[in-house]
């Protein structure tokens, strides 16, 4: 299964993950 998030955010929003990285519920994905 897959989850797609689509969202609006300030242009300086930064992802804190990389492609292929394993993540857990509640783990930081990104911040402004």
């Amino acid at each position: 299964s897959t989850i797609v998030l689509v969202f609006e955010a300030p242009h300086d929003f930064d992802f804190a993950v990389s492609a292929g990285q394993k993540v857990k519920v509640g783990q930081m994905l990104g911040d402004v």
Partner: protein
């Protein structure tokens, strides 16, 4: 019969495998021609269709939805108690499940593989990070980035349309309008400002994270009083790192002016609103903002309940009846438009920075998507004549919280999950 069984000579003939593949392609071709009738766009909009190498077409010809339902049925069969610990340990070792963090830990309590698949985790197993956006699920990040020209990159060289994924800008919708919200008149806000999620009552402050120590800096002691003496409420609140202001009895909340809550909501950028008049017909970003996306793949062994990735308000959901291709990275690389072909539930709403949506996408083995606050939702149910593949049914959640005109979700709260079949 014995005579026939024993003395009849057995002759072996090679079955031409190519004939089988050819049959599947013919079935696929017939299916595609009918599909074209259903999803062809009169206004010349993009037609979403099965594209990819030949073996993808072969897979496309398989009766995936029926396979998924049979798979779901088999996994709902109750297993003998003695077989459960052995069976689930084998499953866990094959798919890499961590049995230390599941709840309940006693494997005999899971009556079927489907129940084990939809297992819960222990309290505190997933701490919520102090960031505006956290992962909604256990899984692997497939890709992420900024959406340009309304297209999302699926893999290098292949994109799919945001509009198709979320069902906006479709023919028959009113002309696109921005996602701005009309101002609220005060008497309209004098509604009940509570919302209930998973049986736990939240005030607006708790829902929008304005009362959590991390965002407001104020430490709110958790005190066990009659108003919140509900054990589950306390446990759940602790589990998600949220603190319920238990020191204030509920009726006092009711007596406070709600205008304070309105300013609270405004403070975190989510404005209360009356029922929307436009119908999410277009996603426009404010100056200085971008539209971002991230795709997370959940492997079969992963924890399959998903949680709220941020503090947001879900206004409506669009259930797309679709196919159930596998969504594994292998298939994502080969099948274009995978995420707009598959059955999915697009949850549309807003957070403090503007538009926010979360789209759980089903797959062959997990075609059933559950949303805890949407009891009416049924996915992966028989072929509904009136909802051919590629169309969607829509429901709005304005009843959940009239002041916010939607279902408010704090960061980290469990929202639902994927079930087998």
């Amino acid at each position: 019969l014995v005579e026939a069984w024993q003395n009849t000579p057995t002759k072996w003939y090679p079955l031409p495998v190519a004939a089988g593949a050819l049959l599947l392609i013919v079935i696929q071709y017939r299916k595609r021609s009918t599909a074209r009738e259903v999803v062809v766009d009169e206004d010349g909009h993009e037609v979403i269709k099965l594209k990819g190498p030949w073996h993808v077409h072969v897979i496309g010809a398989l009766p995936l939805r029926n396979l998924s339902r049979v798979w779901g049925y088999l996994n709902s069969l109750e297993l003998p108690v003695w077989l459960r610990p052995i069976g689930f340990r084998v499953y866990a070792s094959i798919f890499g499940c961590n049995l230390e963090e599941i709840d309940p830990q006693d494997l005999t309590q899971y009556a079927s593989l489907g129940e084990f698949f939809y297992r819960k985790l222990k309290d505190g197993a997933r701490p919520i990070a102090d960031a505006v956006l956290v992962s909604p699920a256990d899984g692997r990040v497939l890709h992420f980035g900024v959406i340009k020209d309304g297209r999302i990159e699926q893999v290098k060289g292949s994109t799919y349309s945001l509009d198709a994924l979320l069902g906006v800008a479709r023919p028959g919708f009113p002309a696109p309008t921005s996602v701005e919200f009309p101002e609220h008149t005060m008497e309209e806000v004098n509604h009940k400002h509570f919302a209930e999620i998973n049986g736990i009552e939240y005030s607006l402050q708790e829902l929008l994270g304005t009362s959590t120590p991390s965002s407001s800096g104020a430490s709110t002691p958790v005190v066990d009083t009659p108003a919140y003496s509900d054990e589950t409420a306390q446990t759940a609140a602790k589990k998600h790192g949220e603190r319920i202001d238990a020191s204030v009895p509920r009726d006092q909340y009711e007596s406070e002016t709600v205008a304070e809550d309105v300013s609270m909501a405004t403070e975190v950028g989510i404005r209360p609103m009356a029922a929307r008049r436009d119908s999410f017909t277009s996603v426009r970003t404010k100056p200085g903002n971008n539209t971002f996306f991230i795709v997370i793949y959940l492997a079969p062994g992963d924890y399959h309940r998903f949680h709220s990735p941020t503090a947001w308000v879900v206004e409506r959901r669009r259930h797309f009846v679709g196919d159930l291709f596998s969504v594994s990275p292998w298939m994502a690389k080969r099948l274009e438009n995978l995420f707009v072909l598959n059955e999915r539930v697009a949850l549309l709403g807003r957070w403090k920075h503007g538009f926010f949506s979360m789209v759980p996408v089903g797959a062959t083995n997990v075609g059933s998507i559950k949303i805890n606050f949407d009891k009416a939702l049924r996915t992966n149910v028989g072929k509904r004549r009136d909802h051919p593949v590629g169309t969607f049914t829509e429901a709005v959640y304005s009843g959940a919280s009239p002041i916010l005109n939607g279902q408010p979700l704090p960061k980290g709260v469990e929202m639902g999950g994927f079930c087998l079949g």
